[in-house]
């Protein structure tokens, strides 16, 4: 077993514990796109403080950790046209589907939700196709 897999498993358990806390204590589904999307389109005005507190933790805690310890690597492309296209697809797609990796993937599958399972299969499938298509177009790798 490679060390990256163990970090993945440990990080995954933390993600699951965060979702457990948010569900059992606050009574909410920890879905990133739903939490931020409801704030952006104004549909979550009544629960805005709780959602803003969640987002503050999500940004400030890893941000502070990285600022002190370093070690975060990002390999995101500098092709801003691609970044904008991807951002629009992720924004519209997650809101149409009512969930992303955390909502459908973590909270949905663990509830054995058919919608969560189907959504997760479809976005992983589309993601794999995008990776292959991009490689064919760019001709790299």
């Amino acid at each position: 077993m490679q060390i990256a897999w163990i970090w993945g498993l440990a990080g995954g358990l933390l993600i699951g514990l965060a979702a457990t806390l948010y569900l059992l204590v606050n009574g909410r589904i920890m879905g990133a796109s739903g939490i931020v999307g409801g704030l952006i389109d104004g549909s979550a005005r009544s629960v805005a403080p709780e959602r803003l507190a969640f987002l503050a933790g999500l940004i400030a805690v890893p941000g502070t950790f990285v600022a002190i310890n370093g070690g975060a690597s990002t390999q995101i492309t500098e092709n801003l046209g691609m970044v904008i296209l991807a951002g629009l697809l992720v924004g519209v797609g997650t809101r149409l589907a009512n969930g992303c990796t955390s909502g459908h993937g973590v909270c949905g599958i663990s509830r054995l939700s058919p919608r969560g399972l189907i959504a997760t299969f479809l976005y992983i499938f589309a993601g794999a196709v995008a990776v292959v298509a991009l490689r064919l177009i760019v001709g790299a790798g």
Partner: protein
């Protein structure tokens, strides 16, 4: 109190994303690269996250009321609508193009540089336009309003 526990949950989520490699776009693309040099790490991440939540849902079913009051979210009707299918395919395509999904995009905003910020801006614009897109398409994309 709700805000304190929400902050803690957000912080744990963020550290989990960072530790697991989900904020590293190269690792995410490596996982989606099933036909190339496949990196299985993300399967461990998703598996690790599902385990505690599987028990959390069972616990919630018996407890009926969250610790801080309110009600547990009801399960959506197990209905397959076009919005779920089209939306998931669009989301996946965007995820595969740059390797970011909404949670890690937010968690890495302080070190994601210009591309990270532009991604979040475009994602926010997409989210802002979705209610209009839904209205424009009308019944063709009829979907439930609850998450998952």
């Amino acid at each position: 109190m709700r805000n304190v526990t929400a902050f803690i949950a957000g912080g744990l989520f963020g550290i989990g994303l960072l530790m697991s490699g989900m904020t590293d776009t190269g690792k995410v693309i490596g996982w989606l690269d099933f036909f190339g040099n496949w990196d299985p790490t993300l399967a461990f991440v998703i598996g690790g996250a599902i385990v505690p939540m599987f028990f959390a849902w069972r616990f919630a079913a018996r407890r009926q009321v969250p610790t801080l009051g309110g009600v547990f979210p009801t399960a959506p009707e197990p209905r397959l609508d076009p919005a779920l299918i089209v939306g998931s395919l669009m989301f996946g395509a965007g995820w595969g193009l740059v390797g970011l999904c909404p949670g890690p995009a937010l968690a890495s905003i302080t070190w994601g540089g210009l591309s990270g910020a532009v991604f979040l801006g475009a994602m926010a614009l997409g989210m802002l336009s979705t209610p209009h897109i839904r209205r424009g398409l009308g019944d063709r994309l009829s979907a439930t309003s609850s998450p998952t």
